[in-house]
Symmetry: C2
Subunit: 264 residues, 2 copies
């Protein structure tokens, strides 16, 4: 099955949810796609200086972002995955919603929090489980630092995902290159939507995000790649049938696993 | 702890165990090292045309290779890991022994057989469990196609290995690049010893091995890299303290795992 899938890379304005949603809407307005991946925390920016600040900028999936994404998803007959600061009572999760024309398909809450995120967010409590889309494929979601844990993408692939939407705010230089192994070992498409720009709200540790959003095929080929600091939407037609753990007639990457010999 | 670790890359002569052992001995004779990794099936070559042929060329660890390695290991006060066709009754495993000055430390039997190897070898039955060395570090072993299963390296790392000896006969172009993720996700050294050259004993499917043996650091840096078709020994001093799953003060790559959310 062929779908048009892509990412949106941009630089959110810290704390200005309305402005960021406008930018996203504008960047996607004239685009055609079946699946679109947006960066992590795309409505708020990243570097919260306190849990209270994050709480004050967080919203449930039904907040401002949800309806805006649904309007777009409906108009484009598509699925849009977007990272956001999710309010849940008095707690904040670093989450990503998958929005379809008929509403929210899933909300994934980041399981592996990076560095000082541990001071801000509650660790995720949603399993790495893909969701069915209307078009008939299964979609997995992970967020940023989840990349370094092979168990995350593996779980999504074992759950039948043929594509992973990977919303990111990457500051380390490794992920884009490491996705080569993630794609190959699971024979899965991975779309990493990263942001760019610098945030220095904590002047002691300013953060520069690395851009370089990409669409990677199950054989590790980079089908599209953004620059390190450009606002851009890139879309490619991808054939989800290429996501197949049957590597050759004698090797099936999941059935060949030997859990009897692993220590996990 | 610093050790001198390296690989030997060469082109075995198919079926000539004595000749191959001589070559290995000659290539290592004037070298100093604490840990040396040799390719998969380094005494026999790779492309057996039948299980019977493999059986006829196989030996137990105590065969010709074992004593030759022990003599070298003793003389160099080192550990040598080497792939060989292991005879076990009427069965053949694709194995790698780790040999120390005092004898065999471990025999690992390849768990994930690649393609037609399934017609030749019995699947391994030894767990991915590292062994203690005299020098005080833990050494993991894996063979060739094990690379594509993240569970293999992960198991060795969780078992306390700070370095993985990876004996290989690689024909696919992916492994060397994918080791970047394996090293990073486990913060572990990985030494891939590959062979080079072509075997066309099955004229319908000649195999060309890709060389490119390498020493990779826990941060993904390639510390040494052989060409695609050269007989060479490369040795680097590596600091095993760099193998540390504590990525930063707040992220420990093993303790941060969320098995409650994985499907494995």
């Amino acid at each position: 099955m062929k779908i048009k899938a892509g990412f949106l890379q941009f630089q959110p304005v810290f704390g200005d949810i309305g402005q960021n949603i406008s930018t996203i809407r504008e960047m996607l307005n004239d685009k055609e796609f079946d699946l679109m991946v947006l960066p992590e925390l795309c409505t708020t920016g990243y570097q919260f200086v306190s849990r209270d600040e994050a709480l004050s900028l967080s919203e449930p999936a039904e907040g401002a972002l949800g309806p805006a994404l649904q309007e777009l998803a409906e108009r484009k007959s598509s699925v849009i995955v977007a990272g956001f600061a999710e309010k849940n009572g008095n707690e904040v999760f670093n989450s990503a919603m998958a929005m379809g024309p008929d509403g929210v398909l899933s909300v994934y809450r980041k399981a592996h929090l990076f560095f000082k995120e541990k001071d801000i967010f509650r660790p995720g409590n949603t399993p790495f489980e893909p969701v069915d889309t209307k078009q008939g494929y299964r979609l997995g979601t992970m967020i940023c630092f989840d990349w370094i844990f092979p168990e995350a993408a593996r779980s999504l692939a074992l759950g039948g995902a043929s594509v992973i939407a990977h919303s990111a705010n990457l500051v380390l230089p490794w992920c884009q290159q490491a996705m080569f192994a993630r794609a190959l070992e699971n024979r899965i498409f991975i779309i990493t939507a990263n942001r760019f720009g610098t945030e220095d709200r904590d002047p002691a540790s300013p953060l520069t995000f690395t851009g370089g959003s990409q669409i990677m095929a199950p054989d590790g080929e980079v089908l599209a790649k953004a620059g390190p600091a450009e606002a851009v939407v890139m879309i490619r037609e991808i054939d989800l049938n290429a996501s197949n753990p049957q590597l050759n007639p004698m090797n099936h990457l999941f059935n060949d696993c030997r859990p009897d010999l692993y220590r996990l």
